[in-house]
Subunit: 405 residues, 2 copies
């Protein structure tokens, strides 16, 4: 092995750059590795031979510290799903050509489900053509929906943001003397992990969130209204956490409806706000946590950022040990004291699979999270990073936008 | 003087509780003051004789430190506009009765415009009936739209939240290779102070926000689309900051439209998102910073919180000096080094007035903020408070919801 390449893919999180730092720092320690190439916009950069020598952009330890507190993907990202080799062999040939031309012996792909599918396909293809390039996946997603791994880097920071913000929203909502309902929409199209994590407020003695709805439980509008009315009889200000992915009537979904001006153009939170206003008639507000839940690195969990860096570094060691087609995973040894070990699993077991919230985490009414589940969530949000600031604002590391095409 | 009363009013901010701490701490130091009563839900608590002895709820220095980092209004709030004395004298009699019964010699009202109107009316009424109760206003509002004072407590923390979050959104928006526009909707129905403050990112070398629209400039949809297209020719990811209060066609406004399902139910950000999608056809997203911009105390500006406490304390000293019908104000002596002094002004000059963004802060195209204006904003967002946390989340001080009715 001489050179290695690394790429970032999928939706932003607070921890993807920390994993890049992990790969880079570990590579610097290892005499077998010479250059570390960053692929711009995920696998697209490998296909198009659009690589940067990371040593030329990350030039100091301070750069690395800044990167650890910079959200999103400093090398850009993509939503590209690698086709099957049989369907588009020319794409695979382009990839092989770039790797050979740059003398790359290992490729590290930091991403979610789709990226792990790419790891799997590429490792099989390289075995097929006899190209000795190790392919290792480094997991990341705020959705926490990857199989086998206990949790995914990025999730802890998102959960810390959601809990902190829900806590503040709880204070904000209770000030007036009239009864009110606040609906907070949280990311998660299929899996309710992030929405469920808002229950950590219960560990602080808060009664909020009073209701939590996740996609793992089938949603009924009648049941929802009954739940809200019941909570209103107990609390002046009812706080509801709802996953964007719960199923509601009439194709109400977030965002991109084209039918301009005559349909719901907002998400599930706004929809439920309107249902409550119409059916209950009380003061009601909906709040979409939007991209802030994935990019609020000023609230990053130190545990998450440290783990993200460590799992990136472990990926390098895994490749050096000769493995390929693997995804690095966390295995939790204990909740208290929180202990995890980093291991690897076959990418084929993780690619294209989703891990859902365990049924046992959800209460019998399907509208809240059981207390014992907090032991799972709490360790992931612990610790704060020492933010480097400039002009009163957390500083970021960025490469010039022209480098990103 | 023996006892005093304090109340909190209007929309939540991160600094209102710090001003309460300021009043309470200063009162504890002063031998002339015995009990400090907290009025529940603003002036309504005085009208209804619903007061709590603050010494029974804030029992330690740790409680005060927690209060300083707790957003919103711990004593509840109201949106009650005190009627004229001629119209409803019975309300004034109730107020006088409560104050006499509790032996209250001074009343401190922490709030915005409407509250300063209450300060003015009550001080005139007490003079009229010869009741020796001093009435002092302590300003607060994230809108920063009170006259005479250089700025208002609560604004600096909101501005720090907006800038920090816009910075993170900027990182989030730039990851994909396709061009995109992100529209961020910021509070401010009449005054653009908070939206304008997002320009502090320029002091960090960011080109974002590329466009800033405030209510002080008349808004044209055609001009807006031209501006966006022009910025798209220069930047891959265009970031737009827009005040909720800019004027747009067809009565598009935030929130509470009752016409269920057949009209825009969202705010100006969503509206502009849809306009861009239809007219330009690029990837576009809108983000409403919602209540987070007023309640994200985990990002509070230390300058703001310290000043909020100081101006509360100064209010107590002002009353003790025999003044009434006054609102405490900041007068800025210098930008660098940032120096303010606390003074008082007549409530009649502040009540029912609004202070708008100076025209000279706005560029000639009316779509961004001039660099020299950053000298005004930057000092207000400096410093971080040392957050007390529990279970990984900033802790809050709260009184039991049953006390708030």
């Amino acid at each position: 092995m001489t050179n290695i390449a690394v790429a970032q893919s999928g939706g932003p999180t607070c921890a993807i750059n920390a994993s890049l730092v992990g790969v880079f720092r570990e590579a610097l320690k290892v005499s077998e590795i010479d250059a570390v190439f960053g692929s711009i916009n995920g696998i697209e950069g490998i296909i198009d031979n659009h690589l940067v020598d990371i040593k030329t952009i990350i030039t100091s330890n301070e750069d690395m510290e800044l990167l650890r507190q910079t959200p999103s993907t400093v090398l850009g990202s993509c939503r590209y799903k690698l086709p099957d080799w049989n369907d588009q062999p020319e794409i695979y040939e382009k990839i092989a050509n770039t790797l050979k031309q740059r003398n790359i012996g290992a490729f590290f792909y930091i991403g979610g489900n789709d990226s792990m599918d790419t790891v799997n396909k590429l490792s099989e293809y390289f075995a097929e053509i006899g190209l000795d390039v190790k392919v290792i996946g480094i997991p990341k997603t705020i959705d926490n929906d990857l199989c086998i791994t206990d949790h995914t880097p990025g999730f802890g920071s998102a959960a810390k943001y959601v809990a902190t913000t829900m806590h503040e929203i709880t204070r904000d909502s209770i000030v007036y003397s009239i009864p009110s309902v606040t609906v907070v929409e949280i990311m998660g199209r299929h899996a309710g992990w992030l929405t469920a994590s808002s229950a950590v407020l219960h560990a602080m003695g808060e009664t909020a969130p009073h209701l939590i709805y996740v996609p793992e439980v089938s949603f009924s509008l009648e049941g929802f209204l009954t739940d809200v009315r019941q909570q209103m009889s107990k609390h002046k200000a009812v706080i509801v956490a709802v996953s964007e992915g719960i199923e509601v009537p009439d194709g109400v979904q977030s965002g991109e409806v084209d039918n301009f001006g005559h349909k719901y153009l907002s998400g599930i939170g706004k929809y439920l706000e309107d249902v409550i206003r119409k059916e209950i008639g009380c003061k009601v507000r909906s709040i979409e946590l939007n991209v802030m839940q994935r990019c609020s690195s000023h609230l990053a969990s130190k545990t998450d950022i440290d783990e993200a860096e460590a799992i990136g570094a472990a990926g390098v060691r895994c490749a050096l040990s000769g493995k390929t087609g693997k995804v690095m995973v966390f295995r939790r040894v204990e909740d208290v004291p929180y202990t995890v070990v980093i291991d690897s699993a076959n990418a084929s077991q993780i690619a294209n699979n989703e891990k859902f919230l365990p049924k046992k985490f959800i209460n019998s009414s399907g509208n809240n999270i059981r207390d014992f589940a907090l032991d799972y969530f709490l360790p992931l949000i612990q610790g704060d990073i020492n933010l480097i600031t400039e002009k009163g604002i957390p500083k970021h590391f960025a490469i010039h936008e022209s480098v990103l095409k």
